[in-house]
């Protein structure tokens, strides 16, 4: 309001002074120099809410991580480090029960909320209750199998599980499940969670910053938390978290115009980024977590003529894909792809060739599939010839009137459309015809059971997207491709097994992984599961993608973290 009245008052004055305004240009430097005390962060998706449990996307979780903290974080190497806890509980230090059914966290004694009250174990227990009771809590997977969360004393939290948990760290580790202040959220349990607008917009936290002003879907203004545990931190008195626009212009604001200090998630063509970085104002950062861009090969028949009762349905194996069910075709499709070219054209420093669905951490990364790194058109052609898929008059291979003609979909994103075009041409060289389709992300990644274009419905032959797993343990992620996860009308298409593969060997391995505690053995089983997926080419991994962000050269202390919120160490950022 003040701005408006001020503007009106000054409007006439300015019009009069317009002719002699050159003066002012000299008075105020044309490009404001980086402000010593003020940090400016740019996310091209604006934050909608600051309560990660009710967030609508990663951007909300990351914005909230400047305020709210979990008990432990993953650092930039993927190692778990204590945040609000004294240390990481293990079986050795007695924090994890020998039967792997409970974990006990010790809280630091010196933590204050930004309103000056102390953090207690009751806050932690409350936060767990909050998520377990809220309808549609985002972090529900983190609290899977939790039987009880109890505050043993002011600084001790005991979490017990209903089943044996070889990896008991998911509750309260990482920015997706932080600790809320009980006093603030006490009236927001259950169905009332969504009505607590004030709390969701201005949560009180223990992190380096506190919320001054929150404009949903636009901008957040933070100030330093006066009660932050480390003296002298954060180095900035205030911070802005601006949202909106697109990735390319976000990169420009840091790299070329220097208006912002940090920009997030810059999936832009590599030459565009290089050109911007050449302006010298900032630097592009890349960090590799577990993101893998992959092709998903439909094992069921997606013929539109089958209608809703048959199209892309597994039907107990009774509806195989006319040609993608043939392992030879899948293998040839994978061999024909020059992954290095895909990286060079679309990803640059933000991607590496990979042949695995689980590319990291190193102990889980299989080395059995490296032969995919080199393209081999001749071998692919030989395989197809041998399998009886012979070129027809139009150059497209066919067998028994089945043509190798693929409908290939992905979400709308210029880099993905480039990758699609490249793959189409590579497949043309082995006599496979491809029709491309791109679908708006809100539709493709949405789970509206009424939409034909979701990745779960998979009404085409091949689709491409990126997926990863939270933290460093791939168990839940790999369990996504067991038979019972095949999407279909009986589970409202709520399955993660979008290729619709069903392998008894794989299901057995998944059960074994869930019951194995020893790390070395877990790694061996996980690798084997990865190999089953990849060597049968149900999934064709293409690119191991980095998180790609940019920082201004004046901003120091940034350690880009692919395992947790990118703003995980914002307290250490300085000029």
């Amino acid at each position: 309001m003040r701005k408006r009245i001020g503007l009106i008052a000054l409007w006439t004055a300015a019009l009069a002074a317009c002719s002699s305004e050159e003066l002012a240009i000299e008075e105020i430097p044309p490009q404001q120099e980086a402000d010593e005390d003020h940090l400016k962060i740019l996310y091209w998706q604006a934050a909608s809410i600051l309560n990660p449990y009710l967030s609508s996307g990663t951007k909300d979780v990351e914005a909230a991580s400047m305020v709210l903290e979990p008990l432990a974080h993953y650092d930039d190497n993927g190692t778990m480090v204590p945040t609000l806890a004294v240390d990481i509980p293990t079986v050795e230090n007695g924090g994890v029960a020998p039967d792997l059914r409970s974990i006990t966290w010790k809280l630091r004694q010196d933590i204050l909320w930004s309103d000056g009250t102390p953090l207690t174990a009751a806050d932690v227990a409350f936060s767990g209750q909050y998520c377990l009771q809220a309808a549609g809590c985002n972090a529900a997977p983190s609290f899977a199998d939790v039987a009880a969360i109890e505050a043993l004393d002011d600084h001790t939290v005991h979490i017990s599980f209903g089943v044996e948990k070889p990896f008991p760290y998911r509750p309260f580790a990482g920015s997706v499940s932080p600790v809320l202040q009980r006093a603030q959220f006490a009236d927001c349990l259950g169905a009332k969670a969504v009505a607590c607008t004030e709390q969701n917009f201005h949560p009180i936290g223990t992190g380096p910053f506190q919320v001054e002003q929150f404009r949903a879907n636009d901008v957040i203004v933070f100030s330093a938390n006066p009660h932050y545990r480390e003296p002298g931190k954060p180095a900035f008195a205030t911070a802005t978290f601006k949202g909106g626009g697109d990735a390319a212009s976000a990169a420009r604001a840091v790299l070329e115009t220097g208006e912002f200090d940090y920009a997030w998630n810059l999936q832009v063509e590599p030459e565009v980024l290089e050109r911007m970085a050449a302006a010298g104002k900032g630097e592009v950062l890349a960090a590799y977590g577990t993101l893998v861009e992959r092709l998903i090969v439909n094992q069921t028949n997606d013929d539109p003529n089958l209608g809703p009762g048959g199209r892309s349905l597994y039907l107990d194996g009774g509806n195989p894909h006319p040609f993608l069910a043939d392992p030879a075709v899948r293998r040839a499709l994978s061999l024909a792809i020059d992954r290095q070219l895909l990286v060079d054209a679309g990803y640059g420093a933000g991607g590496r060739v990979t042949c695995n669905i689980v590319p990291a951490p190193a102990m889980y990364a299989s080395s059995a599939n490296d032969n995919c790194r080199t393209q081999d058109i001749d071998e692919a052609n030989r395989i197809l010839d041998a399998a009886g898929w012979l070129p027809g008059g139009d150059g497209v291979r066919a067998k028994d009137d089945v043509r190798l003609s693929i409908l290939f979909q992905t979400s709308t994103n210029s880099v993905r459309q480039g990758t699609q075009a490249l793959i189409k041409q590579m497949w043309k060289e082995i006599g496979v015809e491809t029709e491309l389709r791109n679908i708006d992300g809100a539709v493709f990644f949405g789970s509206d059971p009424g939409s034909p274009d979701t990745l779960q419905k998979f009404y085409v032959d091949i689709q491409m997207y990126t997926n990863n797993f939270d933290g460093t343990d791939p168990e839940t992620y790999l369990a996504g491709w067991i038979c019972s996860q095949i999407p279909g009308p009986d589970n409202q298409w709520l399955g993660t097994n979008s290729p619709r593969l069903c392998s008894p060997e794989y299901d057995a391995l998944a059960r074994r992984l869930a019951g194995t505690a020893a790390l070395a053995e877990r790694a061996a089983v996980a690798k084997r599961m990865n190999d089953v997926l990849v060597q049968n080419h149900y999934l064709i991994p293409l690119i191991w993608r980095a998180r790609l962000s940019a920082r201004a050269k004046t901003l120091k202390g940034v350690r880009l973290n692919p395992w947790d919120s990118e703003l995980w160490n914002v307290a250490d950022w300085h000029r």
């Binding site: 309001m1 003040r2 701005k3 408006r4 503007l7 004055a13 002012a24 105020i28 490009q31 604006a46 909608s48 809410i49 009710l54 967030s55 609508s56 996307g57 990663t58 809220a134 309808a135 549609g136 985002n138 529900a140 997977p141 969504v194 607590c196 607008t197 969701n200 404009r215 949903a216 879907n217 636009d218 203004v221 802005t240 601006k242 909106g244 626009g245 212009s249 420009r252 604001a253 070329e256 115009t257 992300g441 809100a442 539709v443 990644f445 949405g446 789970s447 509206d448 009424g450 939409s451 034909p452 997207y465 997926n467 939270d470 996504g480 409202q492 298409w493 709520l494 399955g495 993660t496």
Partner: protein, 337 residues
């Protein structure tokens, strides 16, 4: 005219109700989904719970009725309470229209966005009209002169090159190369003195001009063609023969009779001010109503999209009425009865 306006206003109520139903049905049918931006690491069954928590498990008529109640009963009641500082029933028990993405009341969001949209888009609209009318008038009066040819060229380029490109071009020149103007609009900036006013001028300049160019291009073409239609009519010759000064002939006689298509255009355009300028707001991150709408659509935030587009529909119906009344004033021969 008054009777006509009253009748139209009464007729607007069922019209708007019908529009609200069509809007709701359309948004319900659209395949975009509120869980589309969640990370894929969130499993499908949790997504289903999230959808249910938004009320998507309820049947369509129930959801529509709830929106109607919240929007037409509860929100006005809240407004009355706030304006007159009275208490009508238990206001906290009345469900408001809540956005799915922000979980905050939709009306508050819209109110928060209104100032920057009105400033940027409204100003550009005004600037556009101020540029377009003189260009249109002179182009018609001096038809096929150099001024007319250049005017035609500039306005056609202005209209056929979309704002996503002109905006980017402006940023490349003025923000990247010359470094004169900021490329990102600061919605929290407050004008308190001359220096901060200058900052405001600098940040508002590019979005306003880019949008004004686009608006002016269209309007000047309609202005020119309407003027041309009238310049050769008999009454103009009569006016000149009476010895009226050329300026009076042009600006009083011809202009007034040429305004009908222009008034339509301007009146039709006013609601679009409130609708915001989706692309321009995105490019310069003005984050007004246009950006709010596009983010809401991308995130399938149905309550927000529904409310925004419905308010938009109200303005459209209203300004069409205004245009019709203006026709009657501009041209007394037009009769509605």
């Amino acid at each position: 005219m008054l009777r006509y306006a009253t009748r139209r206003l009464l007729f607007a109520v069922p019209t708007l109700l019908a529009i609200s139903f069509v809007l709701f049905a359309l948004l319900d049918l659209a395949p975009n989904d509120p869980t589309g931006q969640l990370p894929l690491t969130i499993p499908p069954e949790v997504r289903a719970q999230i959808r249910d928590s938004m009320g998507l498990d309820q049947p369509f008529p129930v959801r529509y009725a709830k929106w109607l109640e919240s929007f037409f009963v509860n929100e006005p009641l809240n407004l009355i309470e706030e304006m007159f500082d009275v208490q009508i029933g238990d206001s906290s028990a009345r469900p408001r229209v809540l956005s799915w993405a922000t979980r905050g009341p939709v009306v508050d969001l819209i109110v928060e966005r209104l100032p920057q949209t009105l400033w940027v888009v409204g100003l550009s609209y005004l600037v556009g009209i101020l540029i377009a009318l003189p260009i249109g008038i002179v182009s018609a009066y001096r038809q096929y002169s150099w001024f007319d040819q250049i005017g035609a060229f500039v306005s056609m380029v202005g209209f056929s090159v979309p704002t996503f490109f002109t905006g980017l071009l402006a940023i490349t020149v003025f923000s990247v190369m010359l470094q004169w103007l900021p490329s990102i609009y600061d919605t929290t900036h407050e004008v308190t003195d001359l220096a901060s006013f200058w900052v405001q001028i600098k940040q508002i300049l590019m979005p306003v001009l880019v949008l004004a160019l686009y608006n002016a291009a269209q309007l000047s073409r309609f202005m020119r063609s309407a003027m041309l239609d009238n310049l050769n009519l008999d009454y103009v010759r009569t006016a000149r023969a009476k010895g009226l000064r050329e300026r009076v002939v042009l600006l009083v006689h011809v202009l007034r009779n040429s305004m009908i298509p222009v008034v339509t255009m301007i009146a039709l355009g006013v609601p679009t001010i409130f609708g915001g300028a989706i692309i321009t707001e995105q490019i310069f991150r003005v984050n007004g109503l246009g950006q709010l709408l596009v983010v809401a659509i991308q995130g399938a935030d149905i309550p927000l999209v529904q409310t925004l587009t419905f308010l938009f529909a109200v303005l459209i119906v209203l300004f069409n009425l205004v245009a019709d009344v203006l026709y009657g004033i501009l041209d007394p021969r037009i009769r509605y009865e």
